[in-house]
């Protein structure tokens, strides 16, 4: 018990030191104490810390410093000291200044109680769901933790054997936390970290909504629509338990980046030019941080970056079209901010890192060709409205559309935030429904999942507008009320159906113990093939060997061997399904495979029929055969 408490304490200290302090002090250094609310600082510091950490690791990697505990700690401490010195230098003689906008965070007692209740329920529902799926079984999580462990073991950044589907930012935080706290990859730690990211993504939407609408009630409602209703379905707790790291992180980065862009261009809402030099300075700082976080996202997830770039481009075009009559004024106001030395220097540093210090693996002609172009595969040609509705949830989609209509009615064209709330969901909707129009060649359902977050904002806005706007007649209100009831019941039902029985820890431990046994017996020349169809947590087996991402080789899902659009090697199928066949023998001879990990209930018979294999490990759900 004492060991457990001690390891927990070290883990949380590491989280605070790595995932919050650097960003928090950076915000202090830039803005002092007053410009952002404490909650905003906390939420933003998470993304800034991750980005600072990544940049630090890239520098270490470039100059050949091994990524071990001491250099990382010294690097983090260095960042903290620099930020602290800047803060004291800039603010030592200044009295604390309250920001007018901080009135936003002055909630009434009822509002404050409601926030606490919503947060409590958010944690409660998600924790209840995750407690059923916390054991390390998820395939994606297994793949990601392999790379994180590899970084911890080698002390260097992974190159992913050139595979563009893995991105460095998905693994650095896990690796560094493992290095610093010693926390085990097979513990709840990966899920806890993703859970934290998920919670902060909800808080990021909360502060973004609060700032854009300048309305506490709409922000509080966003907590309800994002945190509580559909709390479990994709891309929330379900993605957390599934280890869909990139999406979970991406759904934090998108709102927090939009938050900084909004604050950078908030001055566009005012008719006069920037009122004070301090406002202009702050806008430059916000824009610099927005750019910095954007690159942080580029280093974290390619699909999110792709979605962001399309949304951001549409946002700019949409804002300019809506403000067509005031383009000259917009230009006059923005150029001094956009072309300031602070912003340009930040952009230059980020570009320098991106192209010369550490370039993500997905930045290659091949990867771009894969993602951009006219989609052909049925999974990429767009979702039907029915698909979209099932992804987002029928009633929530309906409520979101209502919110969008009201936003159109009460649209404030100078408000950059309103443009964000429109452009963000509209572009994602277009990318997922009509990808061909935009030359997007990515699985459409993966894009559709991103709709959840902006739709939640629209739901909150629509909800509040209907119930507080006296101009709307009672009939509309009653109809809307019925829709809300529908959303609540559907949302909770949706979450309830996703609560699953706990995956069998007994089967999981069989896989792990058999893997540990095999790891002890393995020679340098041995090769393993395991089955993905019938073994529990098979993606985690590779963490016992750490001999490469494709070690052991895997017999994939049967349907993949029959996919005519993607012909693939057949040996992994033959060597388990028909080991005594000519194909099987040829594959064994060519690959040198001599160990097979299978579920004996389904796959032992074919090996028992030949004399070429010894059955060396027999459990209820896992067996190991050895080919001499």
């Amino acid at each position: 018990m004492i060991d457990f408490i001690q390891s927990q304490l070290i883990f949380y200290v590491a989280i605070a030191g790595i995932l919050f302090l650097p960003g928090y002090l950076l915000l202090w250094a830039i803005f002092g104490k007053g410009k952002l609310g404490s909650l905003e600082k906390l939420v933003a510091s998470f993304g800034l810390s991750i980005t600072l950490l990544n940049f630090l690791l890239f520098v270490f990697s470039k100059i050949g410093i091994r990524l071990t505990a001491m250099p990382i700690i010294l690097g983090i401490v260095g960042i903290l000291i620099v930020c602290g010195l800047i803060y004291f230098y800039k603010n030592a003689n200044k009295a604390e200044k309250a920001d007018d906008a901080d009135k936003l965070f002055n909630f009434s007692k009822k509002q404050f109680a409601l926030i606490l209740i919503f947060l409590f329920l958010t944690f409660l529902i998600k924790t209840a769901y995750l407690s059923n799926s916390v054991i390390p079984t998820a395939t994606d999580m297994g793949h990601h933790m392999y790379w994180a462990k590899m970084m911890s073991l080698t002390g260097s950044l992974s190159t992913y054997d050139g595979m563009p589907d893995f991105i460095i930012g998905e693994h650095t935080i896990f690796s560094v936390l493992n290095i610093l706290s010693g926390v085990n990859f097979f513990s709840a730690f990966p899920i806890v970290i993703l859970y934290l990211v998920n919670i902060f993504s909800i808080l990021a939407v909360f502060i973004l909504t609060l700032r854009i609408f300048n309305n506490k009630n709409v922000a509080i409602l966003s907590l309800l629509f994002l945190g509580i209703i559909y709390a479990v379905s994709s891309p929330q707790a379900k993605f957390v338990s599934g280890g869909v790291i990139g999406n979970v992180l991406g759904n934090y980065f998108l709102p927090i980046i939009f938050y900084f862009y909004f604050r950078a261009f908030k001055f566009l809402s005012n008719k006069e030019i920037l009122r004070q030099a301090q406002d202009e300075k702050n806008s430059k700082a916000f824009l610099s941080l927005a750019i910095f976080l954007t690159f942080g996202m580029f280093y974290t997830h390619h699909l999110t970056s792709f979605v962001f770039l399309f949304s951001f481009l549409f946002l700019i075009i949409f804002f300019l079209i809506v403000n067509y009559a005031n383009l000259e004024e917009v230009w006059k106001k923005t150029w001094r901010v956009v072309f300031s030395w602070e912003v340009l220097a930040t952009l230059a540093i980020c570009l320098l890192f991106f192209f010369f210090i550490f370039t993500p693996t997905y930045v290659s002609g091949k990867a771009v060709d894969t993602a951009v172009g006219s989609p052909v595969k049925s999974t990429r040609t767009g979702l039907s409205l029915e698909n979209i509705n099932s992804t987002v949830g029928d009633p929530r989609m309906a409520l979101g559309i209502v919110g969008l209509i009201f936003l159109g009615i009460f649209y404030q064209k100078r408000n950059f935030g309103y443009a964000i709330v429109v452009a963000w969901p509209v572009m994602i909707f277009s990318m997922s429904v009509k990808p061909g129009w935009l030359f997007v060649d990515i699985p459409s359902n993966r894009i559709g999942n991103y709709l959840t977050y902006p739709i939640a904002i629209l739901c909150a806005y629509g909800f509040w507008t209907v119930f507080k706007n006296l101009k709307i007649n009672n009939l509309v209100r009653v109809g809307y009320f019925l829709l809300i009831i529908f959303v609540f019941s559907w949302g909770f039902r949706d979450s309830a159906t996703l609560f699953k029985q706990s995956a069998s820890s007994s089967e999981l431990t069989q896989t792990f113990e058999a893997s540990a046994y095999l790891a002890q017996s393995l020679g340098a020349e041995d090769k393993i093939l395991k089955d993905h169809n019938y073994l529990t947590a098979d993606a985690w087996i590779k963490l016992f060997f750490m001999r490469g991402y494709r070690f052991p080789e895997s017999r994939g899902y049967f349907k993949r061997y029959e996919d005519p659009t993607n012909p693939r090697e057949m040996c992994t199928l033959y060597m388990i399904s028909e080991p005594a066949s000519e194909n099987g023998k040829k594959c064994f001879a060519e690959s040198g495979t001599n160990f097979l990990m299978i579920n004996p209930i389904y796959d032992s018979g074919q090996f028992m029929k030949t004399n070429n294999f010894d059955w060396v490990y027999a459990g209820e759900k896992i067996g190991i055969f050895y080919k001499k």
Partner: protein, 128 residues
């Protein structure tokens, strides 16, 4: 006026601090609970037994019975081709890993070890 502003700021900030503390507490409780549940599953969620050779690649026939069930009584048979060379009952308690050494002569081409626990059976073999 200035003092009023500062007072507002302090009060406002206290509310946010309470919110942050609330979030931190909820996270710590949830996280600790998830760690605890995971540990519980991995350590006490075992309900299986397995049989395996001590050495895989050679002709050594020593084997292990690893028991994580509540049943303690096991029976094993050693067969050379179809002939039973040895049959014995062993007790293996929950959590125990029992190493069983075999020193046999006149072996056939295939040595099979069958282990029984109640109605369950596991089988391992080596082709010599």
């Amino acid at each position: 006026m200035r003092e009023k502003k500062l007072e507002f700021f302090t009060k406002n900030n206290m509310q946010q601090k309470k919110l942050i503390i609330f979030i931190i507490i909820l996270f710590l409780i949830s996280s600790a609970y998830l760690f605890f549940i995971n540990e519980k599953h991995l350590n006490s969620g075992k309900d299986w037994w397995a049989v395996y050779f001590v050495e895989v690649k050679n002709q050594n026939l020593d084997f292990v019975i690893e028991n994580n069930t509540d049943k303690n009584e096991f029976k094993f048979e050693v067969l050379s081709d179809e002939n039973v060379l040895k049959s014995e009952n062993v007790s293996v308690f929950k959590g125990e890993i029992k190493n069983i050494g075999l020193n046999l002569e006149n072996l056939g081409k295939k040595i099979t070890i069958k282990v029984y626990s109640g109605e369950e059976k596991r089988e391992i073999y080596k082709n010599l």
